[in-house]
């Protein structure tokens, strides 16, 4: 586990060794620490929009004592290679480096527009994803600690639910077709287990989006495939 100060220290090390400007988006616990919504995180999740940026950071992490984890099956969808991160294991923390998407959640223009903070560490520029996007990305996973984080996000932030609905509609087209169903299940679970308040109309709209997508796909003789992650 690392706290914000240690995370900043690591980012400074990366920034000082980069030769050119590298931009990335912090998501998950890493972003939540920047928002002051979490004290420590187990893994630092970063999304890059350029492959060369990811490779540059990976090289620096390697030279700083982080080793790449080769076998990452069992955590992510078995049948999908896309969205799998480069995992760099350190002594006390792990960097998960994603490229353009996070386990099927596509990073596009709107996600970038919603960015709230920009943190500069010399040549390393870390932007923080909006709480809405972090919440939706958490919805793609099945990890227990992600549910805790999501519940905390809903509790602490004024979540703009219209963003969630619009983005779900977008992601089901460009990302995982089953995204609204996964998110629906995730939010229902949060309501049941963490007594978080999710407006009922949002839940209804998620189902409508899912039904609409199923109809669209069935016209093309396709089905929505829902593959849950291994626990």
């Amino acid at each position: 586990m690392i706290n914000l100060q240690e995370q900043i220290g690591l980012f400074k090390i990366i920034g000082s060794q980069l030769k050119n400007n590298v931009e990335c988006i912090a998501i998950g616990g890493s972003a939540m620490m920047f928002y002051g919504a979490k004290n420590a995180t187990k893994d630092v999740d970063l999304v890059f929009l350029k492959e060369e940026d990811l490779i540059a950071v990976k090289k620096i992490l390697y030279s700083s004592g982080f080793d790449e984890r080769k076998n990452i099956k069992g955590i992510f969808r078995e049948d999908e290679d896309s969205g799998k991160p480069v995992m760099m294991d350190g002594k006390e923390t792990r960097f998960d480096l994603f490229l353009n998407e996070v386990i099927g959640y596509k990073i596009h223009e709107k996600v970038i527009e919603r960015i709230r903070d920009i943190h500069e560490f010399s040549n390393f520029i870390v932007k923080t994803a909006s709480p809405e996007d972090i919440l939706m990305m958490k919805g793609c996973t099945e990890r227990e600690r992600d549910r805790d984080d999501a519940a905390e996000l809903i509790r602490k932030f004024n979540i703009d639910w219209s963003i969630i609905v619009n983005e779900t509609s977008q992601q089901t087209k460009i990302g995982i077709a089953a995204f609204p169903l996964l998110l629906y299940d995730f939010l229902r679970e949060l309501e049941d287990n963490f007594t978080t308040d999710v407006p009922e109309h949002v839940m209804e709209e998620l189902l409508i989006i899912a039904e609409k997508r199923i109809k669209e796909l069935s016209k093309k003789d396709q089905l929505i495939k829902v593959t849950k992650y291994k626990k």
Partner: protein, 208 residues
């Protein structure tokens, strides 16, 4: 209602009156709420025109580490305030005025650039400004903006060497703000061979 829910409900900029209206309470109770919220660290007070107090309320106590970035710096030192589309923090070093000017020009945003003109009176190291500007390929743009600023506000004198370096520097394109050209400051435009984005009337904002 607990303080967290109140902070969530009031998130954003508020005045005492708007708080009273939002929560349907009287002014005195609104002042008490602000006092309690401030104690919990949910409130930051800023002053509007005529020294009217405004309260920036957020349910999240964001840690303020590092040094202020572009927008915070501009709002601190320039008369023309800008809306910050995002929070910017710099961690590895304290940003210099010269760096902030270059960053402002690179945004390509009219108001941000207009606001940055005030910083020409704070430049201490013209060589540094010239070096950054040339590296970012905005040298002549910065030179033209300096001359434009000189027409309306007091600025520090640029040293000849830096001016010459800026004048001979390469730029990516002639527009400081995309497709914006001046009607009044043609002489400066011709000298620096770039298009200035504002007219004299825009610069009058510094005299208000």
């Amino acid at each position: 209602m607990d303080l967290m829910s109140i902070a969530k409900k009031l998130e954003g900029l508020q005045t005492i009156d708007s708080i009273a209206k939002n929560l349907d309470i009287n002014r005195r109770t609104a002042i008490n709420y602000i006092w309690m919220l401030r104690k919990k660290g949910f409130v930051e007070t800023i002053y509007g025109k005529r020294k009217i107090r405004m309260y920036k309320i957020s349910p999240i106590k964001t840690p303020r580490l590092g040094y202020p970035g572009l927008y915070e710096y501009l709002n601190q030192y320039s008369k023309i305030k800008v809306y910050a589309p995002y929070t910017n923090r710099i961690y590895d070093h304290k940003p210099t005025t010269e760096e902030i000017i270059a960053k402002a020009v690179k945004t390509g945003d009219l108001r941000t650039i207009l606001s940055s003109l005030a910083l020409f009176n704070k430049v201490k190291n013209w060589q540094r400004l010239s070096k950054i500007a040339r590296k970012e390929l905005i040298g002549r743009k910065i030179g033209a903006l300096y001359d434009a600023a000189k027409t309306i506000i007091k600025v520090r004198h640029i040293d000849k060497r830096a001016r010459k370096a800026l004048l001979n520097s390469k730029i990516e394109n002639k527009y400081i703000v995309k497709n914006a050209r001046t009607k009044d400051l043609k002489q400066i435009e011709n000298m620096w061979k770039v298009y200035l984005p504002f007219n004299k009337a825009d610069l009058e904002a510094y005299k208000e």
